[in-house]
Amino acid sequence: MQALTSILILLPFMAAVCCFLAESGRFRSYIVLATGGILIASSLLLIFYVPFAFSPQAVFGLNVHESVQIPDFLLMALILYYGFRHRSLAVIIPTAIQIVLMIWFEGFMIEDPVVQAFYGDNLSLILVLIISIVGSIICFQAIPYMKTHEAHRHLSESRQPRFFGIMLFFLGAMNGLVLSNDTTVIHFFFEATTLCSFLLIGHDGDETAVRNSVRALWMNSLGGLAFTVALMMIYRNLGSIDMQQIIQTPPGAGLSFLALALLCLAAFTKSAQFPMQSWLTGAMVAPTPVSALLHSSTMVKVGVYLALRLAPAMQGSFLSHCIAVFGAFSFLAAAGLAVGQSNGKKVLAYSTISNLGLIFACVGLDTPESITAAILLIIFHAVTKAMLFLCVGTIEQHIDSRDIEDMRGLYSKMPLTALITVMGVVMMIMPPFGLLLGKWMAMEAAAVNIFVIFLMAVGSALTAMYWARWAGTLMSDPFAGKFTLEKQPVLTWAALLSLCAGAGLLSITVPWLYAKLFTSSMTLNYTPPYSLHDGVLENAYGVFAALPLCLIAVLGFLQSILSVRWATKARISTPYLSGIQTAEPRVFTGPMNQRVQAEAGNYYLSNIFGERTLTVWINLAAGVLLILIIGSTL
């Protein structure tokens, strides 16, 4: 298990260095493939060793805590350097303060820390699985993607060594973050993900990329600062930097709520909650695999992971209640903004923020039911969102646009990719798939809280609206049922199909997952809330018929597919237009024998849901809520 942990954390770092040095593209691809393969295998093997806690033996007289100190300062110094290079005071000031505080903390406050370096329970395991499997699949797909990407940009010198190096480093840092138990080590990995995301967002190096990457850097530096201050306060309170010890303190017994609120603030920044959402929506200038990685398996999951870890220490407190309302507000507000978008990647970005808000709301509600919902949402969101991002990336390279309007009738140009995208949309909003199961559990858990359930009810309806519109647009074309498959690299197909199949299979196996992962060694104080019988999860107030629903859905799907076969024998007609039909589907003969072209566009209701109308007010409201959260703890 020590070996597995070190493979999961250190192997990506070493592979990153190799990628960085590798000149040959073929060799680099092999490194990425091999690293991904080993990561997937080790993360699966880790299942058999949970729960565990250990501190590796000192190497050269340094234990984990000490050996991370120097790299931690180097990392912050590097961020400071980038702050100077891009002349951004917003990066320099928080990072400089953070360095000073860290020197004070490490140098003068902490004495002989007694700390378990690594700790793994089922929550960490789930995160490791998501990071290693989904993350690796994204890296695989990036191999063909980056080739085309660079061909489009006519670069004289390939920047792929840098790209793949950082991608792999990111995976290692994420694994380190979720497996560490020493909060200063978590801080190191926390900063490492900040730096990786900055470098990846700015990868293309054009003006917008640089601007957006600096924005991501300063916002996350603020989060890092909040994290550092919180660590110092916690050490003052409890004299501990051991995460498990910290969260074992019952709420109100010595641990200041302000410190917890600051940690939550750091979590909100990482998870791009309002008003810090703009770094994530800006991140879409990066090559699509980066967006896929940031949105699904890394970065934004740091925030929700931290909040889930800290949940036991906040149970039943007013702070927890505030977080529930804040999360639900984010869920609603981001869904509203997504309705107003015609840019596919932006819709995905807002949907991510929205789903993370929902997860935060569940964490804030802090009942076993809502925590179950939160973890299910994390799993299914990661798989489905990665798949949708990769789909949009593939589509974008084909049609040179990421606008939903340009994807009208994509089905006839790229049938399989369009179908997988539609499948992804279906998985986002429909039973029996896991995301809906999570949302459903969340709603039933939230029903005790009028504020939260109101926000969730409206948010959920908005969510269905923007997804259904997109799915419909992809299918919008006269179509007779005969298609030729588009050509894509094998790795692209493998990534898309494996994610699609994975999300489907996971949904079927939810009862089994629940029995396996949720009934023992989940987070602290977690008691499994549902009884399990015949693949149905049930508690006192709800029945979640996961497996039966899947079976019915499969039957319904087969029957509907048969009906498509039936329809291919039908007479194909042109859509009805208000004149004499012609052979062309979008043209009719109007008055005076004129040829009239019919056009239709989607409603985006941008005067209600547009960014220009809403963002200011949402940021304002979210700011007020955040001030309330911090203020309530003073």
Binding site: Y411, M465, A468, G542, Y576, L577
Partner: protein
Amino acid sequence: MINKSVLILAGLASGPVLGGVISGFDRILTARFQSRIGPPLLQPFYDVIKLLGKEKVVVNVWQAFCVNAYLTAASIATALFFLRSDLLLILFIQAVGAVFLVVGAFSSTSPYSQAGAHRELLQMLCYEPLLILISVGIYFQTGSFKIESVDAMNQPLLLKLPFLFVVLSFVLTIKLRKSPFDLSTSHHAHQELVKGLLTDYSGPLLALTEIAHWYETVLLLGFCSLFWTTNPIGALLLVGITYLGEIWIDNVSARMNWRWMLGYGWGMGMALSLVNLVWLYAR
């Protein structure tokens, strides 16, 4: 087990039988309101049978997929209702059907279908939160989302959730495609969008959408009946009076636009739900 199978079969049969009869009554009553005699009671069945026998014509083969998914979802939701399952589950499955109907309309490029589909999405946006809030109200009162627990009540829910019942009747007007909310498609193909969302569905597929709509009608009226479960006659009266009210509103009101629907629906619906929920919460 046998009991359950009977309930499932009853649920599956209710749409095509009960739904059709309700539709027949609806047409006769509407005709009487307009000083006409109206068609025979079984006319909706004749219509559907005739449509089923028509030539298969599609614009896009995925229309067939979508219609079948709509029908399947609507029938499952109704069967689950008869099984007295989880309220939110029933709502979500019902929503699956509604989404597929919309996606099917999108698959045709006709601007009438497209605009109809968008309006249908707006209608869903309007009523879905309200349906969830009604379920939450029921949860507040019974402590569970399972319909069984509503059956176990010894006092009609209507007395505790009067405002939520008003909200439900509002939702019913939208779902039954009655004026002033027959924006996306109406029972008569003479609105500004021809037949809106249903414009490019024809023949057998149109017949299936009609049957699915019957299922939805039964489901929503069943939802109404939850407000009076202590006595079957009370339930029947409540549902009957509500439906009569719907037909009356249909005949006296003109079609409104979606802005009005969304503003009024969310404004009134949520305010009434909030008042009712806070009232329950405060006690």
